[in-house]
Symmetry: C2
């Protein structure tokens, strides 16, 4: 099966690699051609000079770029993905973007006789590299059924959440939930350090109970050690939260605590921590 992958960022690069290693005939496109060449050298796939060229003759085109604007740029226009994709083929968008643009792009694809799924992922760079992402999908069930086994090359679990846009809505809930958990850890572990507790013992103990979380298991010890130079960047979570706040306004959903935390992330950006992991919330506190 011929597939394309558009966008070789920290997520897309290894995801496209998993597809090629699994035996799919992958053609990649990246804004900076240098990275596409590097990918080709590593995985022996093909690369194209435009999204349309990469998408040409493909059954499925995967895409993972930065935001709504980047997405429009690679999907629409004469050189865009939809211009190259054959009728009957499927565009799977792994970008974390708005539900609105998912609906918009799906409508355009439909007019061309093409299909669209919004399919944001969770699991971060490590999840992409290890091929164990979770994918939240919005779109048609029959289309999802065709794509699911292909996504399985880089995903441990994919779930069809509902119609187009539902994948993005689910991802928003994911981001709302996790940042609050991180804020609790930040306040709790800062308290623990000031109280002189052995934080290794503490995390091993409370991690087994009602305070336990993925964030506690995977970020607790690095937070206590003030290590933030890895993981999911503050810049990225703020982009994602902005999308959620915009959607929440339309829905009339209260996100007071989450907005407060977004303000804390802004403080971290202003202190130069743009690329720090989201667990850097603990860095705001004076030692």
């Amino acid at each position: 099966m011929k597939v394309a992958f558009i966008g070789l960022g920290v997520m897309g690069y290894p995801m496209a690699g998993h597809l090629q290693k699994a035996g799919y005939d992958v053609c990649v496109y990246n804004r900076t051609t240098e990275k596409a060449k590097k990918w080709q050298a590593e995985f022996s796939g093909a690369f194209a000079q435009t999204p349309a060229e990469a998408a040409n003759d493909c059954d499925i085109v995967f895409c993972c770029v930065g935001n709504d604007d980047d997405l429009k740029q690679v999907v629409l226009g004469e050189q865009g993905i939809l211009a190259g994709m054959p009728s009957g083929s499927i565009l799977v968008d792994h970008t974390t973007a708005s539900a609105e643009i998912a609906v918009e792009l799906a409508a355009i694809a439909e007019k061309n006789g093409q299909y669209f799924l919004d399919a944001p992922v969770s699991g971060g760079q490590a999840g992409a590299e290890n091929g164990i992402l979770t994918v939240m999908v919005g779109g048609d069930e029959a289309v999802f059924a065709k794509v699911e086994p292909v996504m399985a090359t880089f995903a441990r679990f994919s779930q069809l959440m509902g119609p187009v846009g539902s994948g993005q809505l689910a991802k928003m809930v994911n981001q709302i939930c996790f940042v609050n958990t991180v804020q609790g850890l930040a306040e709790g572990l800062n308290f623990a350090k000031k109280a002189g507790l052995d934080t290794d013992k503490l995390l091993d103990t409370i991690g087994k109970g009602a305070a336990g979380s993925w964030q506690m298991d995977n970020r607790g010890k690095t937070m206590c050690a003030n290590e933030f130079d890895f993981g999911f960047a503050v810049d990225w979570v703020r982009k994602d939260l902005a999308i959620a706040f915009n959607e929440a306004e339309k829905l009339g959903a209260d996100l007071t605590a989450t907005k407060q935390i977004d303000g804390y992330y802004q403080e971290i950006q202003e202190a130069g921590g743009n690329r720090w992991d989201t667990s850097s919330l603990i860095s705001r506190f004076k030692k």
Copy 2:
């Protein structure tokens, strides 16, 4: 081995039962004698009319009451636990109380040639009933070593956190962490419901990733169904948080987000939800 259990609340009642069933010779005391009689009928142990009488001749006395004041009342004075406990015996306090009172009671016990461990638990009523609590212990290592196998009758895991008071400090961190996770779930699931997402599918999906938590696994579905008539009550968490805020002031630890959530719990109390589970944070939002 002869042991006593003082305080037969929702936690103490089953904990004392596990001790008796495991073959320890248990004498209980409860402020309301009616409940002690009920316990005796169910488990065939003994009951006493005062804490001192229950503690008489015991190797270990367990205690689990409401708060610092209740604790002083059962531990000190002529009818109190320490008055009845033999020299060389150990008082294990499972109450969630301040670190300060733990230090205070340990000092008094020491003067009598007795030992004291602060040992607050997590796992809630279900954890107590199923004998799978987690115990956070403060005190002396040799004393802990004597008590640990006995606590194993109602605990899955016990950890010595450090000197007296450390158990209480660890419990405070536990409460700080978990209420923030619940607030994230409240905002996230309220958003999800308003967005029309299938919340069962959503929880099954995002629960596997970076937003996953004990609270999501064990409270997500009941929150979506507005079921709060069980679990860990709002009144209890506010008592625990008050202890943490008092300690945080001494430590100079910022608990801004946690204080905001405590304010939300106050709103729930004012709306009559004193006995609702802490997951009732979602009830504050308009449908």
